[in-house]
């Protein structure tokens, strides 16, 4: 059987790629993509800990499903915001969206 650490390394790698995407990409849509990668890295973690722990406990799987749901709604809301912002400001570059700065 493949050791647990492999899954965790995969998960960490995926998380880091996602994080790198979030921090480095300028496009808001790409940032959302990065966030999705990070969420899925979390899901891999949850599922692997469930598989290698007490299988009769369903918490890991349930958490993973909740994360899916949250990620789906987050993407829906996030994309709606991006579209809305694009309509108003004609850009989706994150650096230019500095409304939060006083």
């Amino acid at each position: 059987m493949i050791p647990l650490s492999w899954f965790l390394i995969l998960s960490a790698a995926l998380f880091s790629i996602g994080l790198f995407g979030v921090l480095s990409r300028k496009n808001a849509v790409a940032i959302l993509l990065g966030i999705e990668l990070m969420l899925n890295a979390v899901n891999i973690n949850l599922v692997s800990f469930w598989r290698y722990g007490d299988v009769s406990q369903m918490a890991g799987q349930v958490f993973a499903i909740i994360v899916f749901a949250v990620a789906a709604s987050e993407v829906a809301v996030g994309l709606a915001l991006v579209i809305s912002v694009y309509r108003r400001r004609n850009t989706v570059i994150a650096d230019e969206l500095d409304l939060m700065k006083w």
Binding site: L23, D95, D98, M100, K101
Partner: protein, 709 residues
């Protein structure tokens, strides 16, 4: 109702009238005078019933009508308020009730009730006349009619309280109420500066006497523990008072108390040297002059001395002082009266002089004679004042008719021949004048003045007797001068030609008072008059019974009688002789500047007392003490506080609080904010990067702390 209850009620109607008028009826002139005269009538009625009961009560002197209530609690006893009618207060009550009622009635006419409101009248000034529907100038009604009746009602309350009081404390209260009313009524026409000054002068001058009187009352209270007459006049109390010496002038306690009380009388009854206010008080309306400054208030001073006679007579030194002051005042005021041209001022000085007679009589121990003259004088002097008011009124009518307001309607040299224009006033004034002069046998003044002279003579006070005789001569002289100038001869001005008899409300009191000016003397005809054996003098018997020991009736003396006869008739004759032919603009032939200017007393007092007082008040107290010293100290404190304040502000408030604490906090906050500002770039990725770094840092730290260490 018992007599005692009735006595309690006598002073009440006037004081109720005062409050009624002041609070409710002051806008309605008719109602105001109805209330006031009605109240005076009720008091009069009560007084007459009480007087009647007093006459027919045997032994009233020993057992007077009296009742008292506890009033003010002191440590272990009570100051009492009470009433008492003994023979002396009964006769005083009699003339007070009569004169008060007459003068109230007279005031209705005097203030032109029933005439239209004036064209240019102002409250606080005498009415100047109005124009009626036919275009004639007619007298106008007094603008402050109700106010006048309110004040005289309050005055009447004070007088009744004083007379009916059974102790010195309520007597003093009545005394002061009258002083206040006197002030208010002298200054009734407060628009005139002379009236204002006269009011202040009267108030201040009598105040001098009142302070001493209060001292006397306080001394008496501390010495005896009571102010009630009945307690004080106990023989053992009097004996104790007479035997206690005091450090002042070697007087006994009784003598000193008597002297202090007498100084109160000197102020109230305008005796030398506090006489200066009374002539000036003539600025007030004439009914006021008649009531307050002739018949009642100034008599109250004499009444008080007569009342305290048992105490005062204990010390011969005090009696001597009283005799000297009375005698001197009598002659001194009479000489001034000779040179006055104002009809009311003559009467004012005459009043001072006659009060001097009473005081002198008391000083020589003529108790009943003083009381007798007090009663007769009240009647005929009220009559004369009211008569003079009627004359002035008639003359004002003439002035309104001619329209020449430069003519003084009070100057006797502008009059003459008024007997035909004003017959009632003339005849009543003549009766009053003759009574004042002591016209033999007929008039009241003769009997009372004769009794004073006889007493002075038979008691061996020759100097007093001679001085009073001369004063009586002068009295007759200036009275006849006044009558001659006013009523006899021909009119000297157009105004006098157009003078007019006054209304019935003014003449009716004159007629009634004239009746008293004659008949009041009959009750005091001496027993062995002219060597006849008549009934004993009722007045002497009645009033004399007030004292513990009935005073001896004065034996008849041809010298005293002859003198009295001679001075009265001689004075009247010379008065007529000198002034019978005064022509139109002619002035007095007997012009003596010293007398004309009243011995310069006003000037002397001005120089000796008023100027120094003003200097003391204005220069010393105000300029030096107040502005210099007090203000200086205050300014010093002000400056010092200012300096301390500046220092505190500069070094504590401005520097420490504002700059260091206040601004410093703000600066630090600002600096921190400025330096923290770059991390708030608004860029989401930068925030996340920072979050990541911090997260890694915390994770590293936790790892270090939890795992490695």
């Amino acid at each position: 109702m018992t007599t005692e209850t009735l006595i309690w009620l006598i002073p009440l109607p006037p004081v109720l009238a005062f409050f009624l008028i002041v609070l409710f009826t002051n806008r309605n002139k008719a109602l105001s005078h109805t209330v006031a005269v009605g109240a005076a009538f009720l008091s009069w009625l009560g007084a007459m019933i009480v007087f009647g009961n007093s006459i027919f009560k045997p032994d009233l002197g020993k057992a007077p009508f009296a009742s008292s209530l506890n009033w003010i609690p002191t440590a272990d006893t009570w100051l009492k308020i009470g009433v008492q009618v003994d023979p002396l207060s009964a006769v005083v009550l009699f003339f007070v009730a009569w004169t008060v009622l007459m003068i109230f009635l007279y005031s209705v006419g005097y203030h032109n009730y029933g005439q239209p409101a004036g064209d240019h009248d102002h409250p606080g000034l005498p009415p100047h006349g109005a124009t009626d529907e036919h275009g004639h100038a007619v007298p106008s009604i007094e603008p402050m009619y109700s106010r006048f009746f309110a004040f005289i009602s309050l005055f009447a309350f004070g007088m009744f309280t004083l007379v009916l009081s059974d102790n010195l404390l309520t007597l003093f209260a009545g005394w002061e109420i009258m002083g206040l009313c006197s002030y208010l009524l002298i200054g009734f026409w407060y628009g005139k500066e002379s009236a204002r000054n006269a009011a202040v002068k009267a108030f201040m001058t009598t105040r001098v006497g009142d302070v001493f009187m209060l001292l006397g009352i306080a001394f008496l209270y501390s010495a005896t523990g009571s102010l009630s007459y009945r307690d004080i006049f106990q023989p053992q109390v009097l004996h104790a008072l007479a035997s206690v010496p005091t450090p002042i002038f070697g007087l006994s306690a009784a003598g000193l108390i008597g002297l202090l009380l007498f100084i109160g009388t000197v102020g109230k009854s305008a005796q030398f040297p506090l006489h200066v206010w009374l002539p000036d008080a003539m600025e007030g309306p004439t009914p006021v002059s008649a009531m307050i400054h002739a018949a009642t208030m100034v008599s109250a001073g004499v009444y008080m001395v007569i009342r305290m006679f048992p105490l005062i007579s204990l010390d011969p030194k005090t009696m001597t002082i009283i005799a000297i002051i009375g005698t001197f005042t009598a002659i001194f005021a009479a000489t001034i009266a000779v040179a006055q041209n104002d009809i009311k001022r003559v009467l004012a000085y005459s009043t001072i002089s006659q009060l001097g007679f009473m005081i002198a009589a008391l000083g020589v121990g003529a108790y009943a004679a003083a009381a007798f003259h007090l009663v007769t004088h009240a009647f005929f002097k009220a009559l004369l004042f009211l008569g003079s008011g009627s004359v002035i009124h008639g003359m004002e009518h003439g002035v309104l008719h001619t329209g020449d307001h430069s003519v003084d309607p009070q100057n006797m040299f502008n009059m003459g021949g008024l007997r035909r224009k004003m017959p009632i006033t003339f005849w009543t004034f003549l009766i009053g004048g003759f009574a004042l002069s002591g016209f033999p046998l007929l008039t009241a003044g003769f009997w009372s003045k004769d009794e004073i002279l006889a007493d002075a003579f038979s008691n061996g006070h020759l100097i007093v007797f001679i001085t009073l005789a001369v004063a009586a001569f002068l009295t007759a002289f200036y009275t006849m001068r006044q009558i001659t100038l006013t009523f006899l001869g021909e009119p000297r001005t157009k105004e006098a030609e157009h003078a007019h008899e006054t209304s019935w409300t003014m003449t009716a009191p004159l007629v009634i008072l004239a009746g008293f000016a004659i008949s009041a003397g009959w009750v005091g005809i001496p027993q062995d008059f002219l060597g006849l054996h008549l009934n004993p003098s009722w007045f002497h018997e009645f009033v004399g019974s007030t004292l513990a020991a009935m005073p001896e009736a004065t034996p008849f003396s041809w010298v005293a009688f002859g003198t009295s006869l001679l001075v009265a008739l001689g004075g009247l004759f010379f008065g007529w002789l000198v002034y019978r032919n005064v022509a139109a603009p002619e002035q007095d032939k007997l012009q003596i500047p010293l007398l004309k200017n009243k011995y310069y007393f006003d000037e002397i007092y001005n120089f000796l007392l008023i100027k120094p007082s003003y200097w003391f008040a204005e220069t010393f107290v105000y300029q030096w003490v107040d502005k210099g010293l007090i203000d200086g100290i205050l300014h010093f404190f002000g400056k010092a506080a200012n300096v301390i304040g500046s220092v505190v502000r500069k070094y504590i408030d401005l520097w420490f609080i504002n700059q260091t604490v206040g601004d410093g906090t703000a600066h630090i906050t600002q600096w921190v904010g400025k330096n923290l500002r770059p991390i708030q770039s608004g860029r989401i990725q930068q925030y996340m990067l920072v979050s990541l770094i911090v997260l890694l840092a915390i994770a590293g730290l936790l790892y270090y702390l939890l795992v490695i260490v």
